[in-house]
Structure formats: structure tokens, C-alpha cells
Amino acid sequence: MEPTRNSHATLVDLLDRVLDKGLVINADLIISLAGVPLIGVNLRAALAGMETMLKYGMMKEWDERTRAWEREQRQKKVEPICTA
């Protein structure tokens, strides 16, 4: 299967990245958005009806559990493995 980056179909994927992620920078160097409604939030909601599953309750705990499990896995991964 080939990855897609068609601009319409993947706009939400793009927004998830461009709006929430990226290099972290000291807060005292940048223009603060505190108190300003965060740009893009409404846009995203409108674009994709992207309420998280959490809203539905269904599988909420499950989602949190799997992510916790994954964090553990990652920690295990960095620990030295003893092969005695």
C-alpha cells in the first residue's frame, strides 16, 4: 500500500501535525497566545467532525490503557537487555 498526501483527503492529518506539533521553543521568546482562542480548533472540528471517541465513552479507558501500555514498551525498549 502506498502512502497518500492528497491535499484534500489528508488535510486533517496535516492540521494535526502543523497545529499541535513541532519543535518546542522557550515561551519567553515567542508571542504568547495565552487568552487567545487557539487558532484552528474550530476549523478542525468543522472540517472533519473530529470529536474524539472519548466523547462517546466507548473505549475511552481502552484508549488510555493502550497508550499507557505503549509507553511502557518504549521504556522497556531503551533499557539494556541482559542476555546472560
Binding site: T4, D16, R17, L23, V24, V36, I39, G49, M59, T66
Partner: protein, 274 residues
């Protein structure tokens, strides 16, 4: 406006205008000072501010965040941001992208450009480390969905516990049946979760083999008929993503499952943190 006092103080003393800012797109693996032309947000000229062998990619702007209630305007801004990051990525191979609307400000005694240079200097080692880790790699999005109805149907056939309860309900009078149905719903929910758990761990292990790094993102409700059970950002060597694609094909072919595979994205999910 509160701002105006400061502006006049700054300009009359002839130092630096505090309201000047640099909109920051990304940090790139190049030490040149070049203009990339008017490819920025709203056609601004994009150029680099180098420090040693890395640079910040910016345009000049007032020290105010971009804000609008007009979705089309915001969409255009975000798309421009992404296009600049893409262009830089193409040109220099490795980028550390910033999120939309990151604007470095100037201070009374220090220009935004100086602030930017000091920042690059101060973070140089950290940025170099990230650049090395990300060289030759790209981010891909992997989302796995399943059809909960189909899964529930399968479960009613395969789980003896569910089948028993289901049969019991049929023999109960109406009043009691309601209670039993609730029990059945809870049971199905539990079994679905445990099935999802099993799938998650299985897929995660298989996908991880073909990636350099993984971030597990929150799952989302995208379509009413499909549930997302997995939402990953995967860091992958750009020339080996097809291996990941093959693995995803296998999952995509499973009955009731589907996979979305997007990218290549600049490594937005892998530049945060230390």
C-alpha cells in the same frame, strides 16, 4: 491600545521596535543565508537566519499572532506554512518543523533576529542531535479502523459467554429481558475491548519492525460506521517505507479492518521534547 506606548518608546529611543517579529517555519540543516523568494504566508519573503551549519527559516512580520475567524483564511495560512516547510525539506533534506503561528519577538534591547540567533546558538547541540536522528527519514501516519458491528457480530458467534447470555434473554419475560440486554451490552463491550487490545498489540509489534520510532496518538471518531483502533505516527527511512506499506496491506486485507497510510510528512511528531 496598550501596545502603542511601547512602540513609541522603542522607536523614539531608536533602539529596536519591540513589535517586530519573525515568523518561524522550521530549523534546517544548512548554514547559508539565502532568500527563498515570496513563498511564505500571504506572499511574504522567506529567508534563512544561519548559525554555524544550521539555520532558522523565517519571514518578517509584526509581533502578533495570525488569527482569523474565517476558516478559508486559516486554511490558506496553514497550507502556506506547510508548503514552505516542504520546500525547505526538499532543498536541504532534513528539517525540524515548528507548529503554525510560532513568532519570535523582539525586545526593547534586542531584535527578533538577535533573539533568533541566540536561540539557535543556545539550542545548537540539541538541534544537531535531532537533525542527525532524522536524517533520511520521514514521518508517516498510520490509522487502523475496524467496523465495530462486524466485530460484534463475529464475537457473538465465537464467544460462548455472549452466545449463552443471548439465548437466555430469549426465554425471559420483557421486564427482565431489559436487564439482561444491559448485561449483554456490557459483556460485548468488554469483549470488543479485549479484542481491540489483542489487535493493537499485534499490529503495533508488526508495524514497529518497519519503523525507526513510533508515537501513539489519540484515536478519533472520523466516520460513524468505523472505529479507529490505532493512530500512529511512524518515523521511517524514506527509502524503506514500502516495507511498512506491505505490512499495512496485510492488515488492510483482514475482514472488517481498513488502514489509512499518509505521508511522507516532515517529522512534526518527532522533534518535540529534549
Amino acid at each position: 491600545m496598550q501596545h502603542s506606548d511601547k512602540t513609541s518608546t522603542a522607536s523614539t529611543t531608536g533602539v529596536v521596535v519591540a513589535e517586530e517579529g519573525k515568523y518561524l517555519y522550521c530549523v534546517a540543516d544548512a548554514g547559508e543565508r539565502v532568500s527563498l523568494g515570496r513563498i511564505g504566508i500571504e506572499g511574504h519573503e522567506v529567508y534563512t537566519i544561519p548559525y554555524r551549519d544550521i539555520c532558522a527559516v523565517v519571514h518578517n512580520c509584526p509581533a502578533q499572532p495570525y488569527q482569523s475567524d474565517d476558516q478559508e483564511v486559516v486554511k490558506a495560512w496553514v497550507t502556506s506554512h506547510q508548503k514552505v516547510v516542504d520546500a525547505i525539506w526538499e532543498r536541504w533534506g532534513t528539517v525540524l518543523p515548528l507548529s503554525f503561528d510560532t513568532i519570535i519577538k523582539g525586545e526593547l534591547e534586542k531584535s527578533a533576529e538577535q533573539n533568533m540567533k541566540d536561540w539557535l546558538k543556545q539550542e545548537y547541540e540539541r538541534f544537531k542531535g535531532k537533525i542527525e536522528k532524522l536524517r533520511g527519514k520521514a514521518e508517516y501516519g498510520v490509522q487502523v479502523f475496524w467496523d465495530p458491528k462486524l466485530v460484534a457480530q463475529n464475537l457473538t458467534q465465537t464467544s460462548p459467554e455472549i452466545r449463552n447470555l443471548d439465548e437466555e434473554i430469549r426465554t425471559k419475560p420483557k421486564g427482565l429481558a431489559y436487564m439482561y440486554r444491559q448485561r449483554l451490552e456490557n459483556l460485548v463491550k468488554r469483549e470488543i475491548e479485549s479484542k481491540a487490545d489483542e489487535c493493537f498489540k499485534d499490529f503495533y509489534g508488526r508495524i514497529r519492525e518497519h519503523t525507526d520510532d513510533i508515537r501513539v496518538e489519540k484515536t478519533k471518531k472520523v466516520e460513524p460506521s468505523l472505529s479507529m483502533i490505532m493512530n500512529l505516527s511512524c518515523l521511517v527511512y524514506r527509502d524503506t517505507y514500502s516495507k511498512l506499506g506491505e505490512e499495512l496491506d496485510k492488515i488492510n486485507r483482514m475482514k472488517g479492518f481498513s488502514v489509512r497510510f499518509t505521508g511522507p510528512w516532515p517529522p512534526y511528531s518527532f522533534v518535540g521534547g529534549a
